[in-house]
Each structure stands twice: as C-alpha cells, then as structure tokens.
Assembly symmetry: C2
Homo-oligomer: 324 residues x 2
C-alpha cells in the first residue's frame, strides 16, 4: 500500500454529457478513473443504471486493491437538496424532477451515498489536490456556459443557509446592465460566462463590426467562446475588445469576492479556464487597475489544475471532510 | 448573581466623536455602560488616556459586582491589524499612524487587551444579543458615512485572509457607475451610504430639480441623509427618487451577499438604519422584484436592535468567542 490510506470513496460527477467516476483514497490518491456518456435522452432510470455500472466497476477495483469503500459521493448539477439527497430540477439533466437519487443509489448498491452540487465538489477537489493546495480559504469560479462557484471557508465547503451559497455568477456587477437568463439584470454571468462572451461577440459581428469572426457566421456556424479567444490571440480587434470586457467583468467579480470574503486564493476553473494565462493575466491586471489606491493585497488568482477530474476527486474526498 | 456568569469583559468602542464602553458578562448581560467624547484633536496620548479612564471606571464596577474581568476588548475603526494589535491609519482618527494600542493599553492597565474592527464587533454584538439572535450565519451592513460590514459564518466572525473581509461597501454593483472615494468605480458605498444618498440628492437639487430640499441649500445648509428621509416621507418627489435608488442599490448589495454567502439573515445597522421600516421594506421589496423568477428563499432582512451599544457589547463578547 506504499503507506497510503486503505480507506477510499467512489466519487461520481454527473454532467449533461458525461458521467465521470473515480476511486480515490482518503489521502487523495486517484486509484482509478472511469467515464461514460450520460445518455440523458435515455431517461432517468437509464442514467441511474449507468451510474450503478460505474459504481460497480470502481467497487471491483477497490476490492482488487484491498481498499475499503467508505461511501459513494455524487456531484450533480443543481438545483438539488444535499440534505434530502434529492435532485430537484437541473437544467442540464432534462426530465429529472425531484429524484431521490441518494435513496435509489444506496438501495441498489448497498453503499452509503451522499450528494452535493458539482461545482462545490469541484472546488473541494481543487482545494485539496489542485490549485487551492496550501491555503486556508479559497473561492473557485467555474466559467462555462454559466458561471458557478464554490466557497471554502476555514477549510470547509460553505453551503449557505439554504444550500445555495456560491452562486457567484448571479452577483450583480452592473445594476443597469444586460439581462441574465435568471431574470436578474447585470449578473456577472450575463457578461463573463463562455456563452455570454460568445453572445457579445456575435452581437458586434451582427451589428456590422469588421472581424475575422464574421467568416464563422457567414459559413453558417455559430461563434463560441473558443473562437473569440483564438481570434483575440490572433489580434482581431473586435474579439480582443470582447475578451477584454470578459476579463474586466471577471476582475470585478473577483474584487467583490475579495471585499466580501477576502479569501487567500481565487481559482478560475471550467471550460473557459483552458485559456490559461490568456485569461488569468488580464483578470489580475484589471483587478490591479480597478483597485489601485486601495490598501491591502488582493488574493492570488490561479487557473485550476485538475481539469475534468476536479469534480469526482472533490466528490470522493468530501466523504472525509466536515461540511457546513 | 441571579445565576449569571461571574466572568466579564470590558468592551470599548472608539469612534471619531465618542468612546463608548461597557462591562458585559460572558452571557451577554450589560452590567454598566459609560461613554465620553473622544477628543481626537487632543492627540493620540490624550485619547489613550481617556480610554484608560473608561477602563478603570468599568473595572471598579466589576470589583463592586464581584466580577472577574477576563480582558479589555477594543473595537476601533480601520485600518488596523487585529493580529498585531496595531491601529494603522484610520480616517476617523486623524493623527493615528501605526499605534500599538494593544501593547500600550495592556501595559498601562495590566489587563489582557484584544483588538478588532468596530464594524466586526458591532456585527458580533447584534448576532449574539440583537437582530441576529437565533441564526447560524448573518451578515450586517453598517450604513453611515461609509458602508462597512461584518460577516458571521457558522457562528464565528469571518476576518478574511488579510483581516479585511466584510468591506461590503466596496463591492462593485455598477461597473460603469459613480466613482467611489476609494478610487473604484461603482461601489455600493458610492450609491447607498448616508453621505452618497445626501450627495445624490444635492446633485439633483443643484441641477434645478424642484424639491423641498432646496430650502436647506438656500438657507446656507447642507442636505444630509436624514433630510432626504424626512422629505421622502413627506412625499417630496426628488427625495423619494433618491431614497428609492438608495434602497434599490442596497437590495442589489443584499442580493449579492445572498448569492455568494447565502446567510440566514442580513441586518441593516448604522445611522441610516434609524429610518427603520422606511428603509427595510423598500429594500426587501426591491430584492423580491430583482430576483423574481429565481428559486429559493431570500435571507431575512432586519433592522439592527442594539443601536450604539452593539459595538461595545460585541467587543466585550468577542473575548468569549472563537474567531476565524
């Protein structure tokens, strides 16, 4: 056992397109990982069946490696109730309504099952094994189609009084600004998510601004955030303006997190974080410009390290953590 | 002793105009309170001398009441370092620069002395003995010349990694908006503090808008926030518009606190909270309008209960609390 823990948990991260799972020891070693398409169109029972297959496979690996499995820990998209173990109405899992997933999976596997929000679990994964190692408190912004987040205060995930803390994408950064999908006006997500970045670029191209991105639209395609990043890297003026605005709004979000919670570290994760330094550096620079003249050090801003593994790693390790 | 605790602490709340102090038992009973003008113009040594007088008076009360004094706890305006026990550069105490107040006061009184931000202590006071009783987590917005705050997470004050958490007035709510005294653009404080409320009203009056507030300016006076509240209550259209905007921006601030931390309760404190329901109700209504369509319950919003006592009460009781 190389001195490693012989206690483990099975972490499962259920997304709209893929289910990822891993067998993780209590000290953070990933013994094995597996994944399969979610096949959400097959319906709730079909997806749960696939989750069971993944759990069984990882459980066999645990047996081979002489590891105890403490629990199965599910990370799923919200809305959900962690306390009740119920998936309520996740937009990314159409057809799922009030599914008592914890009861169902513990009944079929005979294992203890726990549930949390996928963004929370990913934040815990980065905190324990990735870009958050070594700090006491950390906030993670998950930048994808929307903007989610997770908050670690004093070493523990902070869930909030109604289990909805960390909805960082819906902090309002421009009270007179763009309308968000959630109905609020001026949410961070309405500016700085991958889809909002793409939408702002598409609007400029549609309004007739000269940009290399027009070729995508002319070819019948749709501009996505990666297109904006690539065009900005290549020097396209419109794409650069859009990306600068994305980074500036993210800087405002990070500044607000700083003024409210002042975590030691902020981690940028999710699909958009693949842009790496091309994302991180302008965010940090915009934070410095916006807060120039204020006392105190801003938090570190780092890019997430674990990529798609953060979800199941954090999920598994949450079994061994106290939560709040 | 009526079954009361016989352990107490002396809480001292040092403001720019008044020093308030109280002898408080570990179970929150205020045995005695005293106050005196700060006389900040007299200089640092003079003010410290006055703090010592207050401590001695309260200590004698403790002796008369057969109470042990565990410590003297100071609430002072920032900037300061709680860990180092040093007042760094508080705008409200001109002339104070890097004063090791904890060392000085513990040397002169022979008592253990601790230091924290006045807004943090006031939040703790309300949490333990006022409008925050009975909840696990609470955020307090202190609405005065500026906007400060205090955050209680899981029963404990949250100080942040650099002791500057809870700077709620400097969250950015309108990235394209008014410039704040701190140098940032669009801070909550630039819209919703008492002084910003007065400033917005003054600007409208100066621009020629018809308002009963004009009489104040014509009489050589300056419009303050109370004038705006009184005029709005009397139906003045300009004052009502200004006050509505103040409440709407406060609602945005509360919404952001909800999405990030989701505390069970938000408490509105400070001078402006004297407006009571005339403040609370429009804030709650604006929150409901702005978040209509979102799932979940918003936090309770309540007006602070302890008024000027919150500072020294929280200060004293912080001695008996774990902090973070």
């Amino acid at each position: 056992m190389d001195g490693r823990s012989n206690t483990s948990a099975i972490g499962i991260d259920v997304g709209g397109t893929e289910i990822k799972g891993g067998l993780v020891t209590s000290d953070g070693h990933v013994v094995e990982k597996q994944s399969m398409p979610t096949e959400v169109a097959g319906g709730v029972d079909h997806v749960i069946g696939r989750m069971e297959i993944l759990v069984e496979g990882l459980r066999r690996s645990a047996t081979s490696a002489s590891l105890e499995v403490e629990a199965v820990s599910l990370g799923m998209p919200g809305t959900l109730s962690r306390r009740r173990g119920v998936v309520i109405a996740p937009p990314n899992l159409p057809g799922w309504r009030d599914i008592p997933i914890v009861a169902r999976l513990s009944s079929s596997t005979g294992l203890r099952v726990v549930l949390d929000n996928d963004a929370n679990n990913a934040a815990l994964g980065e905190y324990l094994c990735g870009a958050g190692r070594g700090v006491r408190d950390m906030v993670m912004l998950t930048l994808g189609t929307g903007i989610g987040g997770g908050i670690i205060v004093d070493g523990k995930l902070w869930h909030g009084s109604g289990e909805n803390a960390g909805e960082l994408g819906h902090m309002i950064v421009d009270a007179e600004g763009r309308v968000c999908k959630c109905g609020q006006t001026g949410c961070l997500e309405a500016y700085a998510s991958a889809s909002s970045t793409a939408a702002r670029a598409s609007e400029l191209v549609a309004s007739g601004e000269a940009s290399s991105l027009k070729a995508i639209v002319d070819g019948g395609g749709t501009i996505d955030c990666r297109d904006v990043v690539e065009a900005a890297k290549a020097g396209d003026v419109v794409a650069s303006r859009v990306w600068d605005a994305t980074c500036r709004y993210l800087a405002v979000g990070c500044i607000n997190i700083r003024h409210i919670l002042e975590p030691e570290r902020i981690v940028l994760a999710g699909g958009m974080s693949a842009a790496g330094e091309f994302l991180r550096r302008p965010v940090v620079e915009a934070m410095a410009v916006l807060t120039s003249g204020m006392l105190g050090e801003p938090p570190d801003v780092l890019i997430a390290e674990l990529g798609n593994d953060a979800g199941f790693v954090g999920s598994a390790l949450s079994v061994f953590q106290g939560g709040a």
